[in-house]
């Protein structure tokens, strides 16, 4: 099948690679313009770069900008990180080039209700252009996680298709057949329902995390280890253990823009501040919790101190620092003239690039290097290699044996035995 994909996002690149891999002729248009200058770092997803290379070499995947994509075929996947207006601009171009019935499949998370608007817009455009064809809009929200996106694409736990015409349902299912057959659940629903499912899943997961963070704050005040509480909740089969770990806040692209967009929709549609607002507010505060603990430990005197930070990626397994908790922590420390030395197995370069003119930022090449001579260690991302560090070396390298753990990676008792002051989220010493 001939497929055009638009966008320079994680979704766009992963989808392009996987669809090319299953034999389709894919044209990826990263941006409208004269030059191809993709900005997505494909290396942030393990094995993605390799897969893309293979598909390009096979000739099934082509990178272009503009016209080649519009004229490539009739199936257009919109995966840009863009507003509805920007999507409409792309739709204009696609319809201008259309030489038959056209299928617009939206992968991007647009505000609730935007798909219906887009459909009306596309109908109107086609009428204006006086073309004797039809245009179909469908929504195909992807539930792929950064770090395991290729595997998630192969075996989706849930495949949702939002569409209102048989023709487009058939067309998309044909395209996705190799993956849909592996899906644990498959649903074809109206457009608006697809939107709500996508946002709803995100919001529910975020709600669980913020709830657990609230439990952690309470545990800390009441001198209870939140880990016990977490295990208790997880043991209840109605609750389960996923997305139940307290921590220093969530981040990443879907947990920011999409959640905010959902909160706005709730506010505008129901004319009330919804639960999601509270979820976001708790998370905003949680994203500074490590800073607050550090601040209190040093009684607000951070000028000239050095804080080592382990992890910068918004979650382990990715090089992406998009909306990562590391940003508010760094900004807060820098504002106090505090030196920061960061180690991340994958995201160090991205951090260096983003803050190249920040004299208070050092990027270390190893976990041990980062902590050498630092006044404290803060853990932001739960990378595998941080689970069992050489504690005696860590103790020696730190100027003060104090650890602020935003991911609850260690046992407080054990840390005490190793001679550390240990502050985690809802466990360890409270401050």
């Amino acid at each position: 099948m001939k497929v055009s994909i638009y966008g320079d996002t994680h979704y766009a690149w992963v989808t392009a690679a996987k669809l090319a891999e299953t034999g389709n002729h894919v044209v990826l248009c990263t941006q409208v313009g004269e030059q191809i200058q993709p900005s997505m770092k494909v290396t942030r997803e393990a094995m993605l770069a390799e897969l893309l290379g293979q598909q390009q070499a096979s000739g099934r995947l082509q990178l272009t900008c503009g016209n080649t994509a519009y004229l490539h075929g009739s199936l257009h996947l919109l995966a840009a990180d863009a507003s509805l207006t920007a999507v409409e601009v792309a739709v204009d171009r696609i319809l201008e080039g259309a030489e038959g019935d056209t299928f617009l499949v939206v992968l991007s998370a647009l505000p609730v209700g935007a798909l219906k608007e887009l459909q009306d817009y596309a109908f109107a455009r086609l009428r204006t252009l006086a073309k004797p064809y039809r245009v179909y809009v469908a929504a195909m929200p992807l539930f792929i996680r950064e770090g395991s996106a290729l595997a998630d694409f192969n075996r989706p736990s849930l495949f949702v298709l939002g569409a209102e015409h048989e023709v487009v349902v058939k067309r998309v299912l044909d395209l996705m057949r190799p993956f849909v057959r592996n899906a644990a659940h498959m649903m074809v629903v109206p457009l608006a329902a697809a939107e709500l499912i996508k946002f709803g899943i995100n919001a529910m997961l975020a709600t669980r995390i913020s709830f657990m963070n609230e439990m952690a704050a309470l545990s800390e005040r009441l001198d209870v280890d939140v880990e016990l509480v977490r295990r208790g909740l997880a043991a209840d089969p109605r609750i389960g253990s996923d997305y139940l770990s307290p921590g220093c806040g969530f981040g990443g692209p879907s947990f920011s823009d999409e959640l905010l967009s959902f909160a706005r929709s709730v506010k505008e549609t129901l004319d009330t501040a919804g639960l999601v607002d509270a979820v976001i507010a708790i998370n905003d505060s949680q994203r500074e919790i490590l800073f607050r603990k550090i601040w209190r430990f040093f009684r607000g005197k951070l000028q000239g101190r050095t804080v080592a930070i382990w992890g910068a990626a918004f979650k382990p397994g990715t090089a992406s620092i998009e909306n990562s908790v590391v940003h508010p922590l760094l900004h807060a420390l820098w504002a106090q003239d505090c030196i920061t030395c960061v180690y991340d197995p994958l995201a160090g370069e991205a951090l260096r690039e983003q803050y190249h003119d920040q004299p208070l930022l050092e990027i270390a090449s190893s976990a041990a290097d980062a902590v050498r001579g630092a006044d404290a260690l803060a853990i932001v991302t739960a990378w595998e290699e941080f689970w069992n560090p050489d504690f005696s070396q860590l103790r020696q390298l730190l100027k003060r044996p104090v650890v602020f753990d935003g991911r609850n990676m260690y046992e407080p008792k054990q840390m005490l035995e190793h001679g550390f002051r240990y502050f985690a989220i809802g466990r360890g010493e409270s401050i």
Partner: protein, 551 residues
């Protein structure tokens, strides 16, 4: 050298007295024989238009007032003011609020030292503080960002910043939207008790604003604030003071003694008068509300007025005209009350700000040499948002026995940039306010002659008219135009003081009461209710007895 003539001996003064006498039976409506009167008696400077056609003023009177100003050496007095001469003779210092508005490239030497770099260093300190608070990087003791700022100050450390913050609420920049700025002034603790009940100590920052850092009202509120925080923290005063208190004062030593760390002190100078101090670091709440850029817009508007004041001819000089009109009304026409009536709810607190500026400056009865004089000076000044006052005290303006002069103030444009729901209705509301503004000043001037057959109404429906007023139109209310408006009144006050031969920069009248309050406080604390005058002894006893019965 012979002693200079007293004001009343000046020929121009005597001439004006005669003119005032001859106009006694002349009604305002009879002055409109000159077809060019409206143009002749109006004057524009930047965003402000002053219309004084409705004053009991003739070309002859105006010429006489200009001559009087000349005889009083107003031109030299203006140069003295802005040049840093010792215009505050009883306290031997200059009054350099105009210097606070000078651009960074300017230079002004006072006692051999250029004060402009000092002023801009202080502005930069403010900029740094505002930046840290707006970027949510000024942290309270717990590490949370500051959400509420409480300005504790009274008089000049309260009225100006409060008025400006309330007036310019729609100019709050994005980064200032989540910050709440509050004001606490009253010694009885009402305001602070209300506020503290609703705020979180860990996210609240206090600005202690006091030029002398001895003002008992302010320090008593500050002590309450400190105790509130200490109770929350558990007693670590150094921590609390470092993260929750900023001091603004000319006395670094006293700020330090109170415990405010040096990094949180912003210095003022002796030559900034309290009621002229909103342009200095006392204006920190304004900068926190508007952002530094908005505050600097205000400074620029005021600086524009300073230049106009120095450069324009007396007959085209807004502050000079407004000041001369004020003297004419108060002294020569013997009008003892003056109402300030903004037709814009945003300027609600402008009249109370002006009541301090004018009455504390010119509410005096001795001249610069300390000699009593026998002419009326500053009138009683009060005011309210005009449309609301129409339902309150306008009755007295229209039909009472008092002669009252008025200043009507209104913006020409409002809501014009607003879009969406309700914008048309708001535009209509603004037009209604303007219509009322013009209608009221017209009826005050003409009385019932502005309607047909008005003279034949029964007595209780008659309107005498003949109440003089000026109208000041702002193109629109912005930080710049408000800056210009405030500076206009500051200079108006100075012009009047020069004509009256008053030192407008001291306020000895407020001292004795403070002193007596100290001994009275002692008496109340000890329960000794004797040794005062009969009335005070009696009241003290009633209070002490009341306290005992309740306890």
């Amino acid at each position: 050298m012979s002693e200079p003539l007293s004001r009343t001996q000046l020929p121009a003064w005597q001439q004006l007295n005669l003119l005032a006498h001859s106009m006694q039976n002349l009604h305002l409506r009879q002055l409109w024989t000159d077809p060019l009167r409206a143009e002749r008696f109006s004057c524009r400077a930047g965003p402000l238009l002053l219309d004084f056609g409705k004053q009991r003023m003739t070309a002859e009177v105006l010429a006489g007032l200009v001559k009087l100003a000349d005889d009083c050496k107003l031109g030299q007095a203006i140069r003295d003011l802005v040049g840093g001469a010792t215009v505050n003779n009883t306290e031997s210092r200059p009054a350099l609020h105009t210097a606070l508005r000078l651009p960074v490239e300017a230079s002004l030497k006072v006692d051999g030292q250029d004060v402009v770099p000092l002023i801009h260093t202080s502005l930069n300190h403010m900029r740094d503080i505002v930046g840290r608070i707006h970027s949510k990087q000024w942290r309270g003791y717990s590490g949370k960002a500051i959400k509420d700022v409480i300005n504790i100050g009274v008089g000049g450390s309260d009225l100006g910043p409060f008025m400006a913050c309330k007036a310019l609420g729609e100019f709050i920049p994005e980064q200032g939207r989540q910050l709440n700025v509050h004001f606490v002034s009253s010694i009885d603790g009402t305001q602070i008790a209300d506020l503290l009940g609703n705020l979180q100590p860990e996210t609240t920052l206090f600005i202690i604003s006091s030029k002398s850092f001895t003002t008992v009202d302010t320090l008593s509120n500050a002590r309450t604030a400190l105790q509130w925080l200490l109770a929350d923290v558990g007693g670590d005063a150094e921590l609390v003071l470092r993260h929750h208190f900023i001091g603004v004062s000319s006395r670094a030593d006293r700020m330090s003694a109170w415990g405010i760390p040096e990094a949180n002190q912003i210095n003022l100078w002796e030559w900034v008068g309290g009621r002229f101090s909103l342009w200095s670091a006392i204006g920190l709440p304004i900068a926190l509300t508007l952002g530094m850029a908005g505050f600097e817009e205000m400074l620029a508007g005021a600086h524009f007025m300073d230049r106009h004041f120095q450069e324009a001819e007396p007959t085209a000089n807004l502050p000079v005209l407004l000041g001369l009109i004020g003297v004419w009304n108060a002294t020569f026409l013997d009008i003892r009350a003056h109402a300030v009536l903004p037709y814009d709810g945003r300027l609600k607190f402008f009249p109370s700000y002006l009541s301090q500026l004018e009455m504390e400056s010119n509410g005096k009865s001795v001249n610069r040499l300390g000699h009593s004089f026998d002419y009326a000076t500053c009138p009683v000044l009060w005011g309210e948002v005009g449309p609301n006052a129409q339902h309150a005290f306008y009755q007295l303006l229209h039909q009472g026995t008092q002669a009252v002069s008025c200043d009507f103030i209104a913006p020409v444009q409002r809501y014009h940039e607003r879009e969406g729901e309700g914008s048309t209705e708001l535009l209509v509301q603004h037009r209604l306010a303007l219509a009322n503004c013009l209608a009221q000043s017209r009826v005050l001037m003409l009385g019932d002659s502005c309607v047909a057959d008005g003279e034949n109404a029964p007595g209780f429906r008659r309107y005498r008219g003949n109440q003089p007023s000026s109208t000041i139109l702002l193109d629109e209310l912005t930080p710049y135009s408000l800056g210009a408006l405030v500076a206009l009144y500051e200079h108006k006050v100075y012009v009047m003081s020069v004509i009256w031969d008053i030192n407008p920069f001291d306020q000895w009248g407020v001292e004795l009461g403070k002193q007596i309050a100290d001994t009275t406080f002692q008496a109340l604390s000890d329960g000794h209710c004797e040794g005062f005058d009969g009335s005070t002894n009696h009241l003290l006893a009633a209070i002490v007895r009341g306290g005992e019965e309740l306890s």
